[in-house]
């Protein structure tokens, strides 16, 4: 087993809205290992997105520890968190979040311009089979194509971790498979630690490990001895 990239201990996140207190995370202990592909499963409100946001440096825990290669993320300043995201993390979202005023190529270049050791945007786009549509604006692309551009944008800086929040949530099954294929390929070829949040339990078998979230805790960690290809996923 590779060494752990992320480690959390008693990770807790409490949201307060007025008098209401919501425990989004309730003492999560976990490790994500280098090069692994993890799937995070669970119903709405089970805490998986909060977990991803905290390890991705978008949010801070209320208590507990979260480390990225021995670096405590919980105590980093805003500026340090920005640098952390810039240098180490790639994000993929359900609604793609492409910049509408930039073409596919430019959306990728947006990130490579500020990264230390990026791949050329063309190469990133080629990895998701989007090199032919580089000059198109988001409005000229289908949902699946937009998501693949978003993945290219996420991986172009050669991040150590790729965090995907419902990457197939807005897509039909066929397009979803194509997107998943792109993600597994990147995980395999680049060795990028990848975490994928999904509602879709059918996806679980493409992962090395599956974390099941319930009520702000990891209820179960399943290790897949036998992984399947995305094309084999029964939707």
């Amino acid at each position: 087993m590779n060494e752990a990239v992320f480690r959390t201990r008693n990770l807790t996140k409490i949201y307060r809205t007025g008098d209401v207190e919501v425990r989004a995370l309730n003492g999560v202990d976990s490790e994500l290992y280098g090069g692994e592909l993890a799937v995070l499963l669970g119903p709405s409100g089970s805490g998986k997105s909060t977990y991803l946001n905290i390890v991705g440096g978008l949010d801070r825990p209320t208590s507990g520890q979260v480390t990225f290669r021995d670096q405590d993320l919980a105590t980093l300043s805003d500026g340090k968190l920005t640098l952390y995201r810039r240098n180490h993390v790639g994000f993929v979202f359900q609604f793609y979040n492409l910049i509408p005023s930039l073409t596919a190529w430019e959306n990728v270049a947006l990130v490579t311009e500020v990264a230390d050791n990026p791949m050329p945007p063309e190469e990133a786009l080629a990895m998701v089979d989007m090199e032919k549509r580089m000059t198109h604006f988001p409005a000229q692309l289908s949902g699946g194509e937009q998501q693949r551009v978003a993945i290219a944008r996420a991986i172009a800086k050669r991040p150590e971790v790729l965090l995907c929040d419902e990457p197939t949530g807005a897509l039909d099954s066929k397009t979803g498979v194509i997107v998943l294929e792109a993600l597994t390929r990147i995980n395999r070829e680049l060795g990028t630690t990848t975490a994928i949040i999904t509602h879709n339990a059918a996806i679980r078998n493409i992962a090395h490990r599956v974390f099941s979230f319930i009520d702000g805790k990891i209820a179960e960690v399943q290790v897949n001895d036998q992984r399947i290809e995305p094309s084999e996923v029964v939707w």
Partner: protein
């Protein structure tokens, strides 16, 4: 309260900052409208009431010495309502503690009755008693400048004899609301005093028993004053009379007219700018609000709300914003208007002040503002209700961008993707970007329009005091004198150089056009007072012919080489033909110049001079003043340096006040435009900008997308603003041109720079306020929601 109105109140609460920014811009429009129109009406009403109650004359004339029996002929002229024959003489005043002599005007008051024309308003004390030879009533400005009260006294020089005068009353006269002394460009109450004495005393002092030298008339409303003027000239001709004129040419009246014109120009130029900008801002934020509310609008319609109800809902929001603006503007306008009218009361001498608050003005200002805002919102409101509910409830199609020439910039590889984002966004909404730019340029234009007058006046001061009239003082004799008077003037203590001049009243005619003015004779070697060509280079008066100032030439449609008729008003209206030989630049009054010899030949009475321009050794000033105060023939002395300082101080005071107001107005426009523009961008692009933050762009980098776009708009607005500012300054300047003075349109580079700096500084401050919002973008929430 129904649900829609609750939504309205909450929307208003949520949008308070943007609403306030719009309301402030509208308020500026309303305030300037109420201020300028209100001040205009107050000033006009005050003047009209003062004129009416104190029987201000409509026709004025003077003579050298005319017998009083002409009274019946003058009073009997058709159209004349009443007349007053007076004695009016310029005198020198010697005030204790004041080094230089002051100029004065002594005017007679009839005995045992009020004057029929040009009555005086008694502020304090009483009018002089007929038998008391040393009692006078002085005008309030002069009294205030020296702290005189009834019971105090000062000395005046009558025909070279010094006499102590006891002040018994302080008065105001409709003739001297704007009291400007000889050689001055603005009133200097310290150095120009008007006082009233009993007729009997005056006739004794000036050898005028049974005679008069000044006549004022009121005329019937429908009377033709030109006919009356001609008849009056006819009657007075044998007695050295001529040159009667009507109210239009009366100095105090004409200056007030110029002030009223200026207020009128302000009312027509400035409020429309604010109303237009406000209409644009309303349009901008309402379009965005409706875009955000699109699904709600669809829902409302799906629930059965009618188009009219939905449309009215948004119209009410606009009206609510406008009402806030009208309220703020009305209160500010009322307050500023009162202040301005009070300032007028200080600057001009009115016995009372009618600050007119007309309801119609507020209704007009409010109506126009609300109309402008609703007009700006109309298109957005219409597009919101026009959508079928099913379409409205679906999210709008994503914004499409085109790879226009920004793509070419991209290939240059010079610009970052962040800059490319800003460029594309800017070009995606060209109309909005253009209007934002235009709105910003209005601030620049407004500043230039208010600041340029300083440049023009500075240029005028240089031209008048340092190039044209460089003498230290101008001495005017009570009547024209022979050449020995010049020798005497040159021999006065401290006088280093003395140059003669002669002035005679004329009527210049060319075709059906004519102008009543003075013709001035000067020597060609005049070095103190010079005639300047249009490029401000001195020109020598040629042996023959006349040089006209530009305004005279253009009014009479004359060019060098053409001839005109000169009617000599002091020579039985004898007509002479004279050739125009040149055009001169002159910013004050109407001027025509001739060689002194040529003028002497024209008048056929040998060498006569009206006065002298002198340069003086500073060290000998006291001795000179002493001599002047005791020289009977000197009627007045105008001191260039004092005039210049007074002029500069008055103008600077006015301009400083005005520019403070205009800088505030410009800052409000800039804030209104840039703040709203930034907020809307932020609202439209929150998701994009939050994504950038997620990807690891710093707060500064993310803000730069917004800032680059706004910076481009603000920078593009500068040259456009300069251009519009030049245009507005030009139109304001056209409104200021009169026979009394002309303001050249001069705008220094520093003025353009100042205007731009103020606007850029305001824009930067505004952007910094909005930047804080970029810094506090809620990353997670923005990303989780669908566009």
């Amino acid at each position: 309260m129904n649900m829609l109105d609750r939504k309205l109140v909450r929307d208003f609460g949520r949008l308070w900052a943007q609403s306030l920014a719009i309301a402030m811009v509208l308020a500026c429009g309303v305030a300037t409208l109420i201020l300028s129109v209100g001040a205009y009406r107050s000033l006009e009403e005050t003047r009209a009431t003062f004129y009416d109650r104190y029987r201000f004359a409509t026709v004025f004339a003077s003579a050298v010495r005319a017998p009083r029996h002409l009274k019946s002929r003058i009073a009997g002229m058709p159209g004349v309502l009443s007349s007053e024959l007076r004695i009016a003489e310029p005198v020198l005043i010697d005030v204790e503690g004041m080094r230089e002599p002051a100029s004065g005007m002594a005017i007679s008051l009839p005995e045992f009755r009020d004057p029929a024309v040009n009555r005086v308003y008694l502020r304090r004390g009483r009018l002089p008693e007929p038998e008391r030879s040393n009692e006078v009533a002085i005008v309030e400005t002069f009294a205030d400048a020296h702290g005189f009260e009834p019971g105090d006294s000062f000395e005046a020089i009558f025909n070279g004899r010094k006499q102590r005068l006891d002040i018994v009353g302080v008065v105001l006269s409709p003739e001297y609301i704007y009291a400007i002394g000889p050689g001055d460009m603005v009133p200097d109450p310290r150095r120009f005093g008007i006082f009233f004495m009993p007729e009997k005393v005056m006739s004794g002092l000036f050898d005028m028993e049974g005679a008069f030298n000044d006549v004022v008339l009121t005329t019937a409303r429908d009377a033709d004053t030109r006919v009356i003027i001609d008849r009056l000239d006819e009657v007075l001709k044998p007695y050295g009379g001529g040159g009667a004129y009507d109210r239009e040419d009366q100095i105090s009246h004409a200056f007030l007219d110029a002030e009223l014109d200026q207020l009128n120009a302000m009312a027509t130029v400035i409020p429309p700018i604010f109303l237009a900008v406000a209409a644009f801002l309303v349009n901008m934020i309402l379009s965005r609000l409706i875009a955000l509310d699109r699904e709600q609008i669809g829902l409302l319609k799906a629930l059965g709300y009618r188009n009219l109800t939905v449309g009215m809902h948004y119209a009410k929001l606009v009206i609510l914003i406008s009402l806030a603006g009208v309220l703020i503007g009305s209160v500010t306008g009322w307050w500023l208007g009162r202040g301005l009218t009070r300032l007028y009361a200080q600057f001009y001498s009115f016995p009372f002040l009618i600050f007119r608050q007309s309801v119609d003005l507020y209704i007009l200002a409010g109506g126009v503002s609300i109309a402008a805002a609703v007009a700006g919102a109309a298109k957005s409101i219409w597009s919101s209700v026009a959508l079928p509910p099913a379409v409205a409830m679906r999210p709008p199609a994503p914004t499409t961008y085109r790879n226009t020439f920004v793509g070419a910039l991209q290939r240059l590889g010079v610009f970052s993707q962040l800059s490319i984002m800003a460029f594309r966004h800017l070009l995606r909404w060209p109309v909005r970007s253009f209007l934002t730019m235009l709105g910003t340029s209005m601030s620049v234009a407004l500043l230039i329009t208010s600041l340029f007058s300083y440049d023009s006046i500075d240029y005028m001061i240089d031209a008048i005091f340092f190039r044209a009239d460089r003498q230290d003082a101008t001495i005017t004799f009570s009547v024209d004198r022979g050449p020995q008077a010049l020798i005497a003037a040159a021999a006065m203590p401290g006088v280093m150089r003395a140059e003669p001049y002669r002035m005679t009243p004329v009527n210049l005619r060319h075709g059906h056009r004519e102008l009543r003015m003075s013709l001035t004779g000067v020597t060609p070697d005049s070095d103190l007072s010079r005639v300047l060509d249009l490029d401000l280079h001195p020109i020598a008066t040629p042996e023959n012919g006349v040089i006209l100032s530009e305004r005279v030439a253009s009014k009479l449609k004359l060019e060098p080489g053409m001839t005109m008729e000169v009617e000599l008003l002091e020579r039985d209206k004898r007509l002479e033909e004279v050739t125009v030989v040149g055009v001169a630049q002159s910013y004050i009054g109407l001027n025509a110049y001739m060689h002194l010899d040529a003028l002497d030949r024209l008048l056929r009475d040998g060498r006569q001079i009206s006065g002298a321009r002198i340069s003086v050794d500073e060290a000998m000033l006291d001795e000179l003043y002493d001599v002047i105060k005791s020289t009977p023939v000197i009627a007045s002395i105008a001191l260039q340096g004092v005039s210049r300082d007074r002029f500069r101080a008055t103008i600077e005071e006015n301009i400083t006040t005005m520019s403070t107001i205009y800088v505030m107005l410009a800052v409000i426009i800039t804030f209104g435009v840039i703040y709203n523009s930034a907020r809307i961008q932020l609202s439209e692009r929150a998701r994009e900008l939050a994504s950038l933050r997620v990807f690891g762009f710093t707060k500064a980098e993310v803000s730069s997308v917004l800032i680059i776009e706004l910076a481009l708009i603000v920078l593009a607005a500068q040259p456009v603003g300069w251009l519009i500012g030049y245009g507005l300054s030009w139109s304001v300047m056209q409104g200021l041109q009169s026979d009394l003075f002309r303001v050249p349109l001069i705008i220094y580079a520093s003025t353009y720079a100042t205007a731009s700096l103020v606007v850029i500084a305001a824009a930067v401050a505004t952007v910094l306020i909005v930047r804080r919002r970029v810094d506090h973008l809620d990353l997670i929430r923005v990303l989780k929601t669908r566009e």
